[in-house]
Symmetry: C2
Amino acid sequence: MAAYNTMSVEQLTEIKEQLQKEYDTFKAQGLKLDMSRGKPGRDQLDLSVGMMNNLTSDDLVTTASGADTRNYGMLDGIPEAKELFGQLLGVDASQVIIGGNSSLNMMYDTIARAMQFGILGSTPWNKLDKVKFLCPVPGYDRHFAICELFGIEMINIAMDENGPDMDEVERLVSSDASVKGIWCVPKYSNPTGVTYSDEVVKRFAALKPAAKDFRIFWDNAYCVHHLGEEQDELLNLYEEAAKNGNENIVYLFASTSKVTFSGAGVAAMASSPANFKDILQKMTIQTIGYDKINQLRHCKFLKNVEMLQEHMRKHAALIKPKFDAVLDTLSAELDGLGIASWSHPKGGYFISFDTMDGCAERVGQLCKEAGVVLTPVGATFPYGQDPNNRNIRIAPTFPPIGELQQALDLFCICVKIASIEHIIQNSDVICTIPDQVNA
Amino acid sequence: MAAYNTMSVEQLTEIKEQLQKEYDTFKAQGLKLDMSRGKPGRDQLDLSVGMMNNLTSDDLVTTASGADTRNYGMLDGIPEAKELFGQLLGVDASQVIIGGNSSLNMMYDTIARAMQFGILGSTPWNKLDKVKFLCPVPGYDRHFAICELFGIEMINIAMDENGPDMDEVERLVSSDASVKGIWCVPKYSNPTGVTYSDEVVKRFAALKPAAKDFRIFWDNAYCVHHLGEEQDELLNLYEEAAKNGNENIVYLFASTSKVTFSGAGVAAMASSPANFKDILQKMTIQTIGYDKINQLRHCKFLKNVEMLQEHMRKHAALIKPKFDAVLDTLSAELDGLGIASWSHPKGGYFISFDTMDGCAERVGQLCKEAGVVLTPVGATFPYGQDPNNRNIRIAPTFPPIGELQQALDLFCICVKIASIEHIIQNSDVICTIPDQVNA
């Protein structure tokens, strides 16, 4: 197929008429499909049903520490869970804090504490005129929402196939003491699927922040979430930072939300001994401790990192075909048209899709009107504003594959229609599409 | 036995010598007993073991709402849990927010939100020169710790057998706009065991705060925690407040921490529709939702309020003998000596014990040196400062009854020794003991 931007307005109009018919046929079906969130499918959740009833009465009271998991206490989690997450996060178990069911909640709490109390004795962020966070884009909307709620100014940082633009990160972090943090999903990044290169991780580890309370929020949400045997490796940021005496600038986060149950997993964070102590000092006022039985349930079910990885292969077996279906359809429908690019991730939960500049909102609108809900266009950027109006996050995991296929067929029609409209409207200017970072 | 303060110094010295021998004998045993916290005993936790494995795969995905409890979502909880806690808290299910495993955490979050964001559009408390909370005393140390952490000034409010001194509460709340809240444990209060009278509840419901963002933190931690068939009744504060158009001043809290598992229960809060909306608006940024499987587990196990009350009778059967052992020992050892008074609660987790003014710390010290840990003396007051140095919170539920008896025997010896020391030191002044509020 020839690229749309090489065609005449007449040719495009003709194609669009055909597309419109196809679109109307879809619309008439009254579809109700949801590709908006990175939620596991039911078949994935079924993989962990064995965890529901896996504890005996004896288990509850005979933990490694001898503690009764049913009772109060153990603020930072049971030793077994600290050990498991320590392995997962690449730090010593003593540095791990086990939370409730949500790593997002731990990140929110971490920001909230910094706002209210400061970090390691520094001025509470609330008392500063301005607090800024760096936000690699496109990124995770819920990270950005936390900043927006707390009035933290967000600065977009471009991403490429190696991770964030580190020249820009270094420049801002070292020169501006109001820059207090950066959000990173360093492995199979949300939504681009990029895993940060060793060089990028090393440059993060070597940052010399102007603000002594600058922190890297390293949300390793997809640390074991590979799609196949070909896997990305992520360098251990904490170890690298420690080599530079820089270990205090790192907060690590992870959870089992996409390992066991999204609604009833276990979350954890880890950091340097100094940060750990600083956090626990506030946490001990906030709660007497999180749900230790759920921690124990997880430890008995997942056993260790090797078994956990084995478990993740079962997830991959379920979702890889969905990713393939999306990629195959995009390729079959859009290759060569010069109107879009998209990621080919080796893990994580998303495919990042870029339309021609200025077309994403129209695609979202067309999909919605025909009954397919996408992640709101713009959501992958701070303040919901994609400056190029081009990025769409495709979340293939939740719908059954038949519905996914339907949704994708429609999606491609919408992309084509929106692109043709755009080209015709701008037929006197040259339209370009961006290179997808890991296309 | 004659009252100590009617005895001569010589008589008291002789008694003390005998007590010192008994004390030394205890000390030689190298006891390690803990009466510091209101923790359920292992036998109580065993009552809910049936909840561990009570869900089938079908249960997980066939909730009343049709939602898959294993997946993300349902920020304010599953309908079944909202219904159950609505009944428990005496409000419509729609007004209930189900949290994680800790109502303390929900209270902390509620304070943190008010500090950061304000309430219903009012100025964030962080931006005010001064924020004050009223603290009925003696009270719950963890409430006070939250205020202390956030720099909220605490004002002691005396308690009597009907609840807080409402003249003082009304005066302060109506005249001082910096008074933003009050901590209440309205039923079987921690530690006094007092249940607020109908009149007190009605006066709370009719408060006319100077601050429009004043809130009553109604921590109904012991709402169904009776010790026997003779039970206190607490008027429904929310209903009473609503009659006065005052429903926004109420935040209600409860949990199953002392119904099922202290470490893995379910917490909830409830409030007016306006407050509910205000809270959810922030909570939706904080988390995608709490552990719905644990909510479902609880709902299936506890079924409804009637079954829950039946379950609580089993708790009472286990802990009433412990309370009786404490009360019998206190009575046998201390009645008539004129050196102490204590509460006789019909529910809750504590016996509130008052020494003569100025003796509590010494009692705590003596107990500790002989291997019995009490709640730190002063903990029942803001800033850990009991102005009269007299209140000791006895928590009988956790130790097995044999250990409890040992601890109590020692405790009474310590009280006697400390009292005699005090009387001798102050033999030229008149010593009095306070009336226990519900002795």
